[in-house]
Symmetry: C2
Subunit: 196 residues, 2 copies
């Protein structure tokens, strides 16, 4: 049997479109907008299997602090759920105010140009400082990591194609696969060039 102590700390300052939240808060709200009720831990897992591919997957600590903030702003509802043993877990669900806030953010704010933190490219830039062999090794390792990533993402895409609910997530996943394919082509071209 589950307890049903609903909690929803209200912050009068945030009715409607008051303070703008950090992007991570909107990203988490976005994950919750697919309808499921999740714990912080589950949200981290969900985020590792989706956000990771085109947005940094937030640290655990940040997921919990963002959930607290969303709660303070009345954008999610929380509920204590009895788990196995004497254990209780806090689960979170987006509410109408949260959906409205998320929609408001999507239409009123501009998308920034993507930021890439590409340490392989950074190291290639400095390749004049190291021996050619280690640059080649790094690029080969990256090529292998791309293969893995691609496999992971292909598996996820496989699980959501033909499901109309995940039409847009499927576009995004396909985008990711295209990106990995382009990276692979570039890495291989550079490896060829280096051996001339």
């Amino acid at each position: 049997m589950n307890s049903t102590v609903a909690s929803m700390r209200q912050d009068p300052d945030s009715t409607g479109s008051g303070t703008r939240l950090p992007t991570t808060a909107y990203a988490l709200l976005g994950l919750l907008s697919f309808g499921r009720e999740l714990s912080g831990y589950e949200l981290k897992q969900f985020s590792d299997s989706t956000l990771r591919f085109y947005w940094s997957s937030p640290a655990m600590s940040q997921i919990y602090s963002e959930l607290g903030r969303l709660l303070d702003h009345g954008l999610v509802d929380s509920r204590e759920v009895d788990g196995p043993g004497s254990r209780t877990t806090t689960k979170y669900r987006i509410n109408d105010a949260g959906l409205a806030e998320l929609r408001g953010w999507l239409v009123t704010s501009e998308a920034e140009f993507p930021v890439l933190k590409h340490s392989v490219a950074l190291r290639l830039l400095l390749a004049h400082l190291v021996d050619p062999g280690s640059v080649e090794a790094m690029l080969k390792t990256y090529d292998e990591q791309l293969t893995e990533r691609r496999r992971d993402l292909a598996a996820i895409l496989d699980g959501i194609t033909d499901d109309e609910t995940f039409r847009f997530p499927a576009y995004v996943a396909q985008w990711g696969l295209d990106y990995y394919a382009a990276e692979k082509r570039t890495v291989r071209r550079i490896l060829r060039d280096l051996n001339e």
Copy 2:
């Protein structure tokens, strides 16, 4: 006439490969490894024209604080240079310890898998919450931004090709151009798909 008050605060803790620095510190050290003596402000400009395309260009405030740290660790030398009027500017140059530290980092640490903060993809994921028109508008805007970026980067590449000093930076710039081209293809494919 320029003053030549050399300063090099020594930190005994950091002789050789003691504490590991944040990646941004190595990125800046990397920019300085091309040999020029730069002020914080110039380093920001240099970084905006290079790092920006595959690594986030650090904020001004961070450039200055990293320079302070590099100085503390004895990896760069600084010099007060008389500017126009009664003005003096602090200029920084990498030294032998800095080059050694940078080489050490390149060979001993692993390159992490690139992290992408792609707010366009994030918003596309949530496209079920907004009207189709605004998604299309967002993608078109992104397409235009890609054109601009590509132009900027092509100009930079143009300035460094056929200069053997910048052989590796040229590879990286070409990589960026490939990436932008791949993004353009994907965006256009998605725009086509949306109109079906």
